[in-house]
Amino acid sequence: MKLHEYQSKSYFNREDIPIPRSRIASTPAEAKQIAAEIGYPVVLKAQVLVGGRGKAGGILLVKDENDLDPAANDILNSKIKGISVQRILVEQAINFTQEIYLGITVDRALAQPVIILSASGGVEIEELAIHHPNRIIRTAIDPLLGLQPYMVRAMASHIGLDYDLWKPLLHIALSLWKLFDQLDATLVEINPLVITTDKELLALDGKMTIDDNALYRQEDFLELTDQAVETPAEQEARKFCLSYIQLSGHIGCMVNGAGLAMATMDCIQQAGGEPANFLDIGGGANADKVQAALRIILSDENVRAVLINIFGGITRCDEVAKGLISILPENTRNLPFIIRLEGTNAEEGRNLLAQVPNLLIAENLMQAAEMAVHAAERAMV
């Protein structure tokens, strides 16, 4: 679960990581009032959970009161990578001499948390990672011991940070580790961490991602979730614990297991089609969950054919069949269904479906994909 910049910064503030003065606004009027309190110039920043919002026009510098209304209106009425902006952060504009990158995340390959520091932060950090990897220093952290001061000093020394800034950096890094550890984060990132013209460190932006699997023990975030921007389909999917990602193709697919779901999408593509979504119903889904999953697929107007691919282990094919039968009355557009059932109770499932008209039964995955692509093409004619 990703946090908005303003949410991340409120955690930074809790741990005394210095941030610019700022507050969140939903309307130009609110923004104006906040800007007056903070003092001009201010920066308006769209609070959306997508990268590259700066280049997409989501960040504007406002020099004085006259410029505020148009700028706030611009951002609040815009969409950034398809997401409409609901809130903006009104923030004190900061003069700085250098942008640093500081982040902590999980290195899967090492199975350890790593802290990353670079003297050159900002939007070009990924370029730097490719072309000058030695200018970015990473240090693995023992998850039982936690980040230790000497590691931060070694990193500060490595990037040649002015010694006056070692203590503030140490404080910020240790606080960042504390947030990472205590909040079950998978990412905490300050980019840029700037050196101001007054020679102080200040977190100009902040990103945090919380481990979804750990939300049960992170009560802070149960509330925050509601503020996240989700499509109705995504909300519905989350309610039923379905793993759903909407895509732009024409073939809706419902599969059990993430790997098989990806393989199904790959096969659709191989057969010349494009998947409309990724949808993993997980293990042991019952008829209700199957019904909910299919309803989400049917609600996608791009869908021209529905491919159901189930290899039952814990999942029982007869439950899938029941869920499918129960949703058919809602198939008002008469979309073709292609079904492949294998594994636990596959026979019972097929028997239940035998009496249903207009269902195409496939023998294996590749065949199912081909039939679905065919059906979708016919449906588009």
Binding site: G51, Y101, G103, I104, T105, V106, R108, A109, A111, Q112, I116, I125, E126, A129, I130, P133, I136, R138, D142, P143, L144, D181, D184, T186, L187, E189, N191, K207, T209, D211, N213, A214, Y216, R217, L247, V255, N256, G257, A258, G259, L260, M262, A263, M265, D266, Q269, Q270, P275, F278, G283, G284, F311, G313, I314, E342, G343, T344, N364, L365, M366
Partner: protein
């Protein structure tokens, strides 16, 4: 004849009184007849599986009384960390964790504790292990594979079934089939399993079923080049997946160019590992001797 799991394995089930635990314990018992114990705090002294298998309050007691060497973990995600540590501490040699949804920090700590210990943790979020005709530990359906000489190691549960069943349909058997789990941080890796298969005299060739994310496949390719004599082939799921939504810039810095289906397929091909484009196609690469 197999790796990790044989008909000699003495399996205990952690969380044997839960719905999943009980159901799958029965299936494992029907398959391999080698379930020796279960644990469930407060149920010590009871018996399950037709009154033939004793329940203990703790892994330590179960191990001491029955000699269990393998544990299959079915407890809920918020108890899994404790359950895995309990088995490690008790000296269980093979822990198969079926539980999914374990927080990543818990797994980082488990990996730290495991370092240097003689203990294989398979999973979490693993479908388990099956050595056809001998034993199964986990939820892999018993009828999808027949005994033979092909090793399978996979990050995906259902794709494992897919591949095993495809082999069975053409009469090809499996030595051991291992689902290592699809989570970002897991115990036993592709490389660990390849090492075991390479050393197993009864495995002739190995199938890897990978997917996008992480660099386990890239490391496996490197291992194949440097250490393997047996033929290896692979399928990678996720070619069609939209670009991985990475974790901020940090993810990009850490992963660099690894993690995509393209990089994995390229790494395998460079290592002389043939890669198929859909799961069932893998059958065409298996030579029956």
């Amino acid at each position: 004849m197999s790796i990790l799991l044989t008909d000699k394995s003495k399996i205990m089930v952690q969380g044997i009184t839960g719905r999943e635990g009980r159901y799958h314990a029965q299936h494992m018992q029907d398959y391999g007849h080698n379930i020796v114990a279960g644990t469930s705090p407060g149920h010590g002294g009871e018996w399950v599986l037709d009154g033939k298998v004793p329940i203990f309050d703790t892994v330590e007691e179960a191990k001491k009384s029955t000699g269990a060497d393998t544990s299959v973990v079915f407890v809920p995600a918020y108890h899994a960390f404790d359950a895995i540590l309990e088995s490690i501490d008790a000296g269980i040699q093979l822990i198969v964790c079926i539980t999914e949804g374990i927080p990543i920090m818990d797994m980082l700590k488990v990996r730290r504790v495991l370092a240097g210990k003689e203990c294989y943790l398979v999973g979490p979020n693993s479908p388990g292990i099956i050595t056809p005709g001998q034993a199964k530990a986990g939820i892999i359906p018993g009828d999808i594979a027949i005994p033979g000489k092909v090793g399978i190691v996979s990050r995906s549960g259902t794709l494992t079934y897919e591949v095993a069943l495809a082999l069975k349909r053409v009469g090809i058997g499996v030595s051991t089939c291992i689902g290592i789990g699809g989570d970002p941080v897991i115990g036993t890796s592709f490389v660990d399993c390849l090492e075991l298969f390479e050393d197993d005299p009864h495995t002739d060739q190995v199938i890897i079923v990978g997917e996008i994310g992480g660099n386990e496949e890239e490391k496996a390719a490197e291992f194949v080049v440097n250490e393997m004599t047996k033929p290896v082939c692979a399928y990678i799921a996720g070619k069609s997946a939209p670009e991985n939504r990475r974790m901020g810039h940090a993810g990009a810095i850490i992963e660099g160019n690894t993690g995509t289906a393209q990089s994995k397929i390229a790494a395998f091909r460079q290592a002389g590992v043939k890669v198929v484009s859909f799961p069932e196609e893998i059958v065409s690469l298996i030579t029956t001797s």
